[in-house]
């Protein structure tokens, strides 16, 4: 059942367990979906996290600069935490 959820929903659910850096969540979803080699999906998955943050389901905790091992050197990376509103969305729509 869980695997059949939309990818963005799956990513939101990762944050139930712990706070994560964006690249950790992106790596996890792409591995799960077998899309690890695709730049397009890396970008897309990172964009979903930004959307989740702007709509208040996640909140940013920390920012840093990528040393090149995640997205590209000099890119901004963010660490997020699940919000109360995010947990409500999971409880009401994703279980």
């Amino acid at each position: 059942m869980a695997k059949e959820l939309p990818m963005k929903s799956r990513m939101l659910m990762y944050f139930e367990n712990r706070d994560m850096w964006d690249y950790e969540a992106v790596d996890a979803i792409l591995k799960e979906e077998g899309l690890s080699d695709s730049e397009y999906w890396r970008f897309t998955a990172r964009f979903w996290l930004a959307e989740l943050s702007i709509s208040g389901l996640l909140e940013p905790l920390e920012e840093d600069v990528d040393d090149g091992s995640h997205f590209a050197p000099g890119k901004m990376i963010s660490k997020y935490r699940l919000t109360e509103y995010g947990l409500q969305a999971i409880d009401s729509m994703l279980r």
Binding site: E4, L5, P6, M7, K8, S9, L12, D22, Y40, F43, T44, R46, F47, W48, L49, A50, E51, L52, S53, I54, S55, G56, L57, L58, E59, P60, L61, E62, E63, D64, V65, G74, K75, M76, S78, Y80, A89, S92, M93, L94
Partner: protein, 357 residues
Amino acid sequence: MSELTADKAAIISAQKKARVKWGFIWALLTAVMWGIGYVPLQAIWGIEPLSVLYNFENPDSGYLVGSYLDAFVQAMMFGLILTAVWAGATGKLREYKRVITNRKILKWLFFGALCGGPMAIFGSALATGYIGATFAASVSLLSCVVGALVARVFNHEKFSIKAIIGIVVIVVGGVIILNPTDMIDNILHPASDGNVLLGYLGAFMSVIGWGIEGNLSIRALNITDADASLPVRFFIEFVFWCIIMLPLLLVIVGPDKFFDCMAQTFSSVPFLFWMAVCALSLGFCYAAQYKAFPLIGVGRTLCLCNMYVPVSMIALFIFLGQPLNILLVVGSVIAIAGTFVMYWERGNEVSGGEVDG
């Protein structure tokens, strides 16, 4: 937050600025495409079958049936074209399937589509047909107010002082757009071609419908990719038209007229062509708007996208020679100013973590 070195802080700040720039580009593209989209929406009233529909019987029911067909074909084109072109080209058909088969997510898109489609798009088509596209475009600015009121009631969102002032300003603009003395006069002494009361009713439906839709659909859009869930939203609206709205029309107008209308609609290549153009340009707007949200925030995106109203007035003036109505111009400028008061936030109020374009 841990302390960043000055170098890193500078890099992050530069990237955030670049994102804001891209967000503005997406939002302004939305406004331009959306405004121009009103040209084909108005122009289709001049080509078959809509141009002949209101001649074959009395004008009242002709316009009504025309608006009905207009809204139906819009739903069909949006549903089919966006599914195939948008979800297909972005590689998100698998996501599409996951959204459309998930009942808890689909529920919100379905009720959103009901308010947005048979209520708002049909209402807006009525307002366009009976009164005109510039009026229909301007009046839909008021849906911001309905959206905020609905959010207040259902999500218990508190109004800030800024929001209250914004709402008051939008309503003042709305009163000028609706021009109550003119409206009452038009309703009491309708011009010969059609009953404008239905146009005002349609405008009312579009304001309420779009106001509610945002609050329902957003729950599904929050947790899905808009490139997949927006096509789903339009596809289920199309299905709803097929199984509920069209049979209803069949009952209302009778089988003879119904099949006559259908035959005329689907044999008119120019009509279908222009509706496909609408679906592509307006469909692009939806997608572009969702690209802008995480880059500059929801509030600023909505404000900028509302600039579609002046764009539509200019486009309708240039392409179709529709005269600029000074009251509509003044009213919509005030209403747009109200949306800026209500939604505009400073750059540093937008939560972080946006992605560069």
